[in-house]
């Protein structure tokens, strides 16, 4: 492992961050707000740290898988640290813990916030806050579609959970050209949503920041009432469409956009993902109608937005789902755990693993019925190896275990049971809001400082697919 190479390429990520810091800084300068210097100084530090290794370390095309993996994970952690600086320099509600929480929440595209008054933030800082989502989203695409698949070798066997029939295709995305295409899709979707939101009457600032948060399935809104502030069905429909798109595997999305639209429906994962969301919306609509909302249209509107927002791990809100009936809340908690498809910017266990999990159960039942039969678990037309199924089950168990442990720590710190467990699930799944005091219209400011650190750890664990972070910190596995 060559630390100098890691420094060089992690430095490039810092330069990318510096670019967005500079844009935020320009916004701050135009609006003459108080975030100008914090943003400028962070941009300066970030660019200096990015440029310096470029001066010393000569470029190389030979980067090993392990180095690539460390570059990505380190870039993530460095980005989170850089993200802290403008917040903490600006002050206000940002203590170091709060700034770290907000920064990690941004870069991991979680969207949980500690801010009680978001609109009190200067525009430059609000832009940076949304930009952290967008930068994190690009990182996820590269990490999941380029770096993770390259780890499917001995010593990295745990990552083979990602090698489902769908994700196995990831190998073909490893070329630089395909990465460029994926980035173009990411940027294209952002532009398309921005234009659509502008047509719905949003200001350019709000349209860009909401697009950043949607495509990255983040959830930071520059408004205290989130998307509910606009009270516009058109805005909600646009955001719903782009939330669904952002939750689909970017490879399939690319195929669909380049003419192979049937690929979308051919994928059993996408079919399940869309069917699950539709079922969720119907179930929550039925639960809300009569108990909370008297009109079917209102119930459908609220249910559709909230379920899709949670089901894609975005985390925007139009209403306070903490006061919904228990049945609706449980449906939402299921989506908080599941989220959308692998290969998207979404977090959570992911639809792929849920499908594989159910197929493994079906296989086991069939095996009990016909002990001598040779039954394979298949994803679409590809047979899935037993160890992949095993790792999948291990991942889901580990995931639930971490949510439980994190919730347990929070309850030990005095947080109520609903807020603790829903908050843990929401941060682990990079969803954003939970229920109780961390509901869709509340924030995480009431969580004790230690609890916030626990939750940021779960955000990173969730974002780096659990094993990623463990392998990164387990030095032995590199030998």
């Amino acid at each position: 492992m060559r630390p100098q190479i890691i420094l060089r390429y992690a430095g490039l990520v810092l330069l990318f961050n510096a670019l967005f810091l500079l844009i935020s800084c320009i916004i701050s300068a135009v609006k003459a707000d108080s975030a100008f210097f914090p943003l400028l100084y962070t941009a300066l530090i970030s660019s200096l740290f990015g440029i310096f290794p470029l001066i010393f370390v000569p470029p190389t095309t030979k980067i090993t898988n392990k180095e690539g993996f460390i570059i990505v994970v380190l870039s993530w952690i460095l980005s989170c640290l850089v993200g802290v600086i403008p917040y903490i320099m600006w002050g206000g509600e940002f203590s170091f813990t709060n700034a770290w929480f907000e920064s990690v929440s941004g870069f991991t595209t979680t969207g949980s916030s500690i801010l009680t008054d978001i609109e009190a933030l200067p525009l430059g800082l609000l832009f940076w806050r949304s930009a952290t989502h967008w930068i994190g989203g690009i990182g996820i695409i590269i990490f999941v579609l380029a770096v993770l698949p390259s780890m499917g070798k001995p010593g990295m066997i745990l990552y083979r959970a990602e090698m489902s029939s769908l994700a196995a295709d990831n190998f073909r995305y490893r070329t630089q050209k395909t990465l460029q295409i994926l980035v173009v899709i990411y940027v294209g979707l952002t532009l398309l949503e921005t234009i659509s939101l502008l047509l719905c009457g949003m200001s350019i600032f709000d349209a860009v920041t909401h697009s950043f948060a949607t495509i990255a399935t983040g959830g930071f809104s520059p408004k205290n009432l989130s998307v509910g502030y606009y009270k516009s069905a058109a805005v909600e429909v646009v955001i719903i469409v782009f939330m669904i798109l952002s939750g689909i595997h970017f490879g399939i999305l690319f195929a669909a956009l380049t003419g192979k639209i049937t690929d979308l429906w051919k994928s059993s994962i996408v079919r399940y993902y869309l069917a699950a969301l539709t079922t969720g919306v119907i179930a929550v609509t039925l639960s809300l109608h009569g108990s909370q909302l008297h009109s079917w249209a209102d119930a459908l509107r609220s249910a559709a937005f909230q379920v899709l927002s949670i089901g894609t791990s975005t985390g925007f809100a139009t209403t306070d789902s903490s006061i919904w009936p228990p049945f609706a809340q449980l449906v939402m908690i299921f989506f908080t755990l599941q989220c959308a498809c692998a290969g998207s910017t979404s977090g959570g266990i992911k639809a792929d693993r849920i499908v594989l999990f159910w197929k493994a159960i079906v296989k086991r039942i069939k095996k009990i019925q016909h002990p001598a039969a040779v039954i394979m678990v298949k994803m679409d037309t590809v047979a899935v190896e037993d160890d992949v199924v095993e790792v999948n089950i291990l991942f889901i168990s580990f995931y639930i275990g971490i949510v439980f442990l994190s919730g347990l720590i929070l309850t030990a710190l005095g947080v109520d049971i609903l807020s603790a467990f829903s908050g843990s699930a929401a941060t682990m799944g990079n969803v954003g809001p939970g229920f109780g005091m961390v509901g869709s219209m509340s924030n995480f400011s009431q969580i004790p400082a230690l609890g916030k650190w626990v939750l940021t750890a779960t955000m990173l664990l969730g974002r780096l697919e659990i094993f990623g972070l463990i392998i990164f910190f387990a030095a032995k596995s590199w030998r």
């Binding site: 630390p3 100098q4 420094l7 108080s34 210097f37 914090p38 100084y41 300066l44 530090i45 200096l48 740290f49 440029i51 310096f52 290794p53 001066i55 010393f56 370390v57 000569p58 600086i85 903490i88 320099m89 600006w90 002050g91 206000g92």
Partner: protein, 254 residues
């Protein structure tokens, strides 16, 4: 890029990080000083003037009661001196209009005070007003309450602005300190990275070159020396390798 420039860039970056943070801290501290002065000039003076006016008004109210009870001389002397004090306070408030919305309050005080003064400037003793408590409660005391209310509104406005300025000062103090803390931490991390890169790209090649030359002198064999960068060290190693090759050729010819 040459070694000299590479090393210089490291020091320049370090200097830039610290200098920018220092300059900004100085700027914030200077602005803080101005804010403190403004806090004193703009708000504290007006609040003090307001208190003076309220005190004067209360004395005038007591004087009106004395006049009502027929004590003309005592009442007149108190009311005239209080009027003078009120005008002094009002003059300060009038000349210290600095907050949006403040002029309206000052004008309101002026209008209401004139109305109040109109009531007691006319004779009270030996008129139908003497001993007339109804007149006092319905007109004089009511007018007094109105002026006092206006002055209190002016004081509250200045109080609120003073609180905001103080909060702003707290934020400014935070913003003056933070660049320093961030710069120190960044400089520490940067020094570690700088040290690592200098060690890897400068010190290590020099050590391996020295060892290589020593080995050549002992065994006549020059081991391969790796220099990844194309700088002065690369040229030095190339020259040594050429020198060794030429020495070997000369030795072979002899």
């Amino acid at each position: 890029m040459g070694l000299r420039l590479k090393i210089l860039s490291g020091f320049l970056i370090l200097t830039m990080m610290l200098a920018v943070a220092g300059i900004w801290s100085i700027y914030e501290l200077t602005t803080m000083g101005t804010s403190v002065q403004r806090l004193f000039d703009d708000n504290y003076k007006s609040i003090n003037a307001g208190k003076t006016m309220i005190e004067a008004l209360e004395r005038e109210d007591s004087a009106v009661l004395l006049l009502l009870s027929g004590k003309w001389e005592q009442g007149r002397s108190i009311i005239e001196s209080a009027d003078e004090v009120f005008h002094k306070g009002f003059a300060i408030a009038q000349s210290n209009v600095t907050i949006p919305g403040e002029p309206a309050y000052v004008e309101e005080i002026d209008t209401r005070y004139k109305r109040y003064k109109d009531l007691w400037v006319k004779p009270i003793v030996d008129t139908s007003k003497q001993g007339n408590l109804d007149w006092y409660f319905q007109e004089a005391h009511q007018a007094f309450q109105d002026v006092k209310g206006s002055v209190e509104k002016l004081v509250a406005l200045n109080d609120q602005t003073m609180y905001q300025t103080a909060s702003d000062l707290k934020n400014r103090a935070h913003r003056a300190i933070m660049p320093g803390i961030v710069a120190i931490l960044a400089a520490l991390i940067f020094t570690v990275i700088f040290n690592f890169l200098i060690n890897y790209y400068v010190v290590s090649p020099i050590i391996s070159t020295t060892k290589g030359i020593q080995r050549f002198m002992e065994t006549g064999e020059l081991p391969p020396i790796q220099v990844e960068t194309e700088d002065e060290l690369f040229h030095l190693v190339s020259s040594i390798q050429r020198l060794v090759a030429e020495a070997r050729t000369a030795e072979a010819q002899e």
